[in-house]
Structure formats: structure tokens, C-alpha cells
Symmetry: C2
Subunit: 408 residues, 2 copies
């Protein structure tokens, strides 16, 4: 059982390819075993859709580190409890044994870390002696047990820059009261909606109003706030998190519910808020929904985020090599919230402690009356978007080759 | 009447600030008169909301050249026919005389060029001897009489890069048939929808299906095409122009209300097409609507576009200085469509020839059965997105100062 397996699970990010590429490099240096990767997450393991990741030619490995979306294929299939699906457990066991896999690297968010934790139980159940290491990855930043997660900083940077740019457009056009709304992802948390406070925009002119999922959305109070602001400026800028709910706990707008994997596909909150303001205030409304663009914008990735995406991979390999299991690599902030420069290192946290939990934006960071964040939150957020990265460009477009994986 | 006036009209762009900054520099070199600018277009002229653009300090002028949205304020007020609004004409005359304005630079699209043409008539009517020069500007690329218009190349580059990135995300997640739709601007024309063909994506995996406004949208034929493609790939990528219409001439966005949301205004063309596919094919759909982001993304501007945005300003000043009037500066392509490198220079076209006309994508460039473009179109489009530009960044975000204009 000298080989290793890597797979991605849950929504991908702009820098997940950087994690995959760094893992391949670190594994090559540290191990004589082979490194396989499963396409489309756990389902690739179940279906033996494996590739020989360790054999990826070096130029392609370097390209992989720069392309968004991970280049491998992620998935949303989770490992179920043994009692509910013993056949799934046996299948996993058989594939692991067939390919002599002794180490599994799971690159994902809180649902995926539950699968990683269950793999530890599966290993004990069958006496496989498996080492299971989780690698954090989520644009939503909702993983517990880590200061931040690779993918978040780049998505936040993309949204902050986009908002700075779009707000200037909006202000240029606002000859009468009008509202620009940007709907952002983040599921049940407001980490990405923080872009409205991270963006550098003049307070008096275009300070965005942010609707966080952590605060119950009160349509009447919000409408009154917008009306009040219209007395001072024509150009209202709002950031609406996809997951906002009214006080009764219901999502303010829901695109549809994909129940297969227990994940709602959220969306539509921005339009719903736009419709509210249009109806109540008679204002013109523009709504932007960056959707996948916000988690795929590798051209605008944060250099800090990329460094962390690579570091978690190297640390994961080091943990496995030293015989550890049942851990997720985390990012530990060394510097205090008010200290510069930002310093961090990789550590580890028990999978059992963080699996399936969801970290929300701390309530004391939210300035509820003013629909924005307090300074503490900005001290936390700003270092995460720092640094720009160069990409290779040809004929005006970035070089994002399609990764051709060596077959097993 | 030794002074000049500049104003922006219609939707702004990522590079309109580059035109304004270049105009200020060229005017300083060429003229001893003052250069005023009207805030929010013609309405700024009518309301005497003027600033002393020529006195903009040099560091702020250089910053202006790099910020999206123009930094001045555009507007949609147009000059009406004399018979319909003689009071408006008298007001324009009075303001021009009060500020001793002998030259007017109108920076806009086809509607704005009609206002510029009417200003020539106004000058004749009152015997003002005004010189009126139009400067092209539109992300839609629908201005007649010019090879392209500043603003378009950058918007096209932004959309093409965004699509390349989002398609990789979409392919990574498509474990079952699913559709990603990007809705783009362009009004009645498909120039921006061309991003689906400009984006470098593997033909077999993710070649986008493009819905152009120039071709009547046939929901049944399109649904059949998507169903056919689903036999080969799970990941369908579509670009939907906001202005698509069915054969009866009606906008698709306005007829197919996205009932999922329960709000009529929620159904833009992209959502309407998404709802169609969801209903007919039972596929999962994600829709991105970049909205203002596509015309404001200065961080991803095309270097070619910026050069042209600056060149049209210098040429406008040269034309006015040589006593010409009633012209719009245009971009003339010197190289043939199949020649490299791309060569161009600035020329001029009579305002009367191009005002209020609308240039559509040539029908023979559209590959109707395959929902894409022929190679000729790509030869035209690709040079326009070429070249990347460096911006100053501080703490992870671009430096987009708010322009403080000197008062008159």
C-alpha cells in the first residue's frame, strides 16, 4: 500500500490547480510510491476513473498550477455512513487495495472533510492502515479550524476589484437615483459579501450596502436605508449574498433546490432585492451575477492565496510521510489582527473536529445598522487579497492548456 | 470662442478615461484656449455643470487614463430637433457663448453622434462657427464608419477570458449534463457575443454555442442542438446576447418570464434561455450576468484598445485645430483581414453618414447551423483583444483614485 490517491471534492476554485500541482511536486520528492488522482471526486474512485498524476510531465504540471477549475474534475459524491451503504464502503476498500493505495488526499470543503473523516473510519473498519489527509479548499471560507481556505482570497480579490470597477461605471451613469447590485456566492455565510467593504470606494459617494446571510434580511428596514441614502447620492451600490434569509429563516430567493447531494443551488437573491427596490422606490436597477466567474478568475488570483494553496499541499505530503492521519491541513495566522506584515504557517487540525461544520462571519464584525463591516474584519480580510500574479498570455488571452493526464 | 468643451455620452467603458486623458494632453499641446468638460453629458452643458478639464493636475490626468467609467460622468440626454425643443437649442447656444466655446468634442456612440451632428446644425443656425468633432466610444461596436470603437476590444477581452475561466470551472463540475450560460451586452448586435468564438476552448469539450441577435432565435432548434451535444459532453457552454429575438421580432428576454423567481424583470435573455433548457431537457443550469463588469474591467483592458482610445483623442484635437467640423474620428484598418500584424490609423468620417445608424455583425460571418462564427470574423476580432496592460496596485487592489476636477 505504497501508493497515494488525490481527489478534489465540491466546488472548484481559481487556485485548486496550484494545490494539485504542488502536491504532485511534493509527492515526487518525498515518496517512491505512485500518485494517482481520481477524476470527479469520490465518484472517480468508485468508478476507477483514475489517472497517473505523478507521471504528469513537468511542463504540464507547471501549466496545471496556473489554470482555474483544477484541470481534474471535482464531484459532489460523498462517502455515506457504513450502515446506509455498505456496498459503497466495500467498493472503496476494493479499489484502494487494487491500486495499493495507502494514502488519500482529499481536497475540499466541509462536506468533503466529512468524507475524509469517514475514510479514516473505513480504514479502521477494514484494517487498511490508510493515512487520510484533508486539504482545505473553498471560495466560501466557511471551513472551521483554519484561518482561511485556499480559493477564498482570490475570489474575494476578484469580487472587490470588480465592484470597484463596476461602481465607477455606475456612478458615471447615475443621473437619477439608481441601484447597482452585485450578487455573490458564499452559501450560508457572508465571507465573500465582504468584498463590499474590502473594495476601496469613497465613503460619501459609493460605500456599498452589504446584505450578509448572518443577519436576517428585513426588506422594510433595507428599503428605508436605501431611500435615506438616495437623499445624498444617485448611485447606490449593494452587495447581496446569495444566502440571505428573512427572519423566518427562508431564503429570500431561491433558484432551485438540487436535493441529490443535500446542497441547495442558491441564486436569485440579487434580482429579488432589485425587484424590491424597483417596486418600492421606483429606481432603476442593474444586477450583476458573476456566478462561476468569481471562483474561476485565475487572471486576478491573489498571490497570497496561491502561496497558501501550494503550501497546504506540501504540508499534506509531509504529514502523510510522517505517518499521520485523520488531519486537515490548516492555515495558522501568526500575526495579530492589527499587526503587519501578515504572517502565517501551515498546521493541522483533526478532521473530526471540523467536518460538516460551517464557519460564519463573526457577528461582532458586522456593522448591522450601516450594512457593512467593522475595522476588525478588514484587518482579517485585507492580507488575503494581497499580491498580483503574472500569467503567460498569447494573442491577448491567457494560456490555459487543457491538461492531458497520463493514464494509469 | 477660443475654448473647447468635451463631454461623454451614452454608456461608459473601461478605456473612456484613456480617451479623456489623451484629449486633455493633446489640447494642452495644441491650443491656448481652455478645455472645459461637462459632467453627465449634454445635461451637464445644459445645467452648466462644467469643470476645468484642462487644468487637471498632471498626476491626476495620468490616473484618469487608467480608471474605468471615465471619471467625469456620462449621460443619456440627446439634442432634440430644433422644432421639437427650441428652448434646448437656445440654452446650448447661450452656454457656448458664455464660456466662449468654439470647439465641442462629443465622446459617444451612434445616438451621441446624432447629437454631435445636430450641434453642427445648431452652429449654422445661430452662426456660431462651432467646430464639432465626434470621438467613437462603445463596448457594443455598433458604430458605423469605423473599423472598431474604443471600449469594444477591452469588453471583448474581458468576456473571452471570463468565458475561458468559467468554462473550465463548469467542465470540472459537470458530472451530469449541465449548462453554463453567460449573458452578454451588445444591444441589438452580436459583436460582444463573439467572445464565445474568441475564447480559446477545446472544440470537442467546450466549444460555446452562441446566440446572436442577428439570427432569429428558434427555441426548438436550439434545444435540439443542446440535446444533441449532450450525447457527447456533459458540459454545455452557451453565450447569450441580451438582444436575441424570436422570428416574430420580439425580444426573447421579455416574453419568456423566468417563473422560477416569480418576478417578471428577473428574466434576462440568459435566464430565459436557461429556463427553456431546464424545462425542456431537465438539465442543471448556471447563469452568469457580468452586467457592468464587462464594460468596466480596466484591469483586463486590451492594450490595442487603449492605444486606439488615446489615438482618437489626439486625432480629434488635430482635426479641430485644422479647422474641420462635422466629423467623427474613426479607426481605419490598414492590414487585410488575413494579414498580420494588425495595422491601423485614425481617419475621419462625416457625422451625417453614421449618426443613429447601427452596425450589425455581418451575417456571412455567422455559422448559423453551428451557433458560432466563421474564421473571417475571428481574423477581424482577435487583433482587438491583443496586449495586456500594467496597472498600479496597492494592498492587493488597483489604484483607481476618484478624480477631483478643478472647478471652472
Amino acid at each position: 500500500m505504497n501508493n497515494a490517491l488525490y481527489f478534489q471534492s465540491g466546488g472548484v476554485t481559481a487556485v485548486i490547480g496550484a494545490t494539485a500541482a504542488a502536491l504532485i511536486a511534493a509527492h515526487r520528492e518525498a515518496s517512491t510510491g505512485r500518485l494517482f488522482a481520481a477524476e470527479h471526486g469520490l465518484s472517480g474512485l468508485l468508478n476507477e476513473q483514475l489517472v497517473d498524476a505523478g507521471a504528469l510531465p513537468e511542463p504540464m504540471r507547471r501549466a496545471l498550477s496556473q489554470i482555474p477549475g483544477g484541470g481534474l474534475g471535482s464531484g459532489r459524491t460523498l462517502l455515506q455512513p457504513f450502515e446506509e451503504n455498505p456496498a459503497q464502503w466495500e467498493r472503496v476498500r476494493d479499489v484502494l487495495i487494487k491500486y495499493q493505495i495507502g494514502t488519500v488526499y482529499v481536497n475540499g470543503g466541509n462536506g468533503s472533510m466529512d468524507t475524509a473523516a469517514k475514510l479514516v473510519t473505513l480504514s479502521d473498519h477494514y484494517g487498511l492502515g490508510l493515512k487520510v489527509i484533508g486539504l482545505p479548499k473553498t471560495i466560501d471560507n466557511d471551513l472551521e479550524g483554519t484561518d482561511t481556505s485556499p480559493g477564498f482570497g482570490s475570489a474575494l480579490k476578484y469580487l472587490s476589484v470588480s465592484l470597484m470597477e463596476a461602481a465607477r461605471d455606475h456612478c458615471a451613469m447615475a443621473t437619477k437615483p439608481s441601484v447597482f447590485i452585485m450578487e455573490v456566492m458564499g452559501r450560508h455565510t457572508g465571507w465573500l459579501a465582504s468584498c463590499g467593504a474590502v473594495a476601496r470606494l469613497p465613503e460619501a459617494i459609493a460605500a456599498p450596502l452589504i446584505l450578509f446571510p448572518e443577519v436576517a434580511f428585513d426588506p422594510a428596514r433595507f428599503t428605508a436605508t436605501v431611500r435615506e441614502r438616495m437623499a445624498h447620492t444617485n448611485a447606490i451600490v449593494c452587495v447581496v449574498a446569495e444566502g440571505i434569509r428573512t427572519a423566518d429563516g427562508r431564503f429570500y430567493a431561491q433558484q432551485n433546490v438540487a436535493t441529490t447531494y443535500g446542497h441547495e443551488q442558491l441564486g436569485g437573491a440579487g434580482f429579488a432585492v432589485g425587484e424590491l427596490l424597483r417596486t418600492e422606490l421606483g429606481v432603476k436597477v442593474h444586477v450583476a451575477v458573476p456566478d462561476y466567474l468569481q471562483r474561476a478568475a485565475r487572471h486576478l488570483a491573489s498571490a497570497t492565496d496561491i502561496k497558501q494553496a501550494e503550501a497546504v499541499a506540501r504540508h499534506a505530503v509531509a504529514l502523510a510521510q510522517s505517518g499521520q492521519t485523520g488531519l486537515m491541513v490548516n492555515i495558522v495566522r501568526e500575526s495579530g489582527l492589527f499587526d503587519t506584515p501578515y504572517r502565517w504557517h501551515c498546521g493541522a487540525v483533526a478532521l473530526a473536529e471540523i467536518a460538516n461544520r460551517e464557519r460564519c462571519l463573526p457577528l461582532h464584525w458586522i456593522n448591522v445598522p450601516h450594512y457593512t463591516l467593522h475595522a476588525d474584519a478588514l484587518n482579517y480580510l485585507r492580507p488575503l487579497v494581497e499580491g498580483e500574479v503574472a500569467l503567460p498570455w498569447t494573442d491577448g488571452l491567457p494560456d490555459y492548456p487543457w491538461v492531458e493526464w497520463p493514464s494509469v
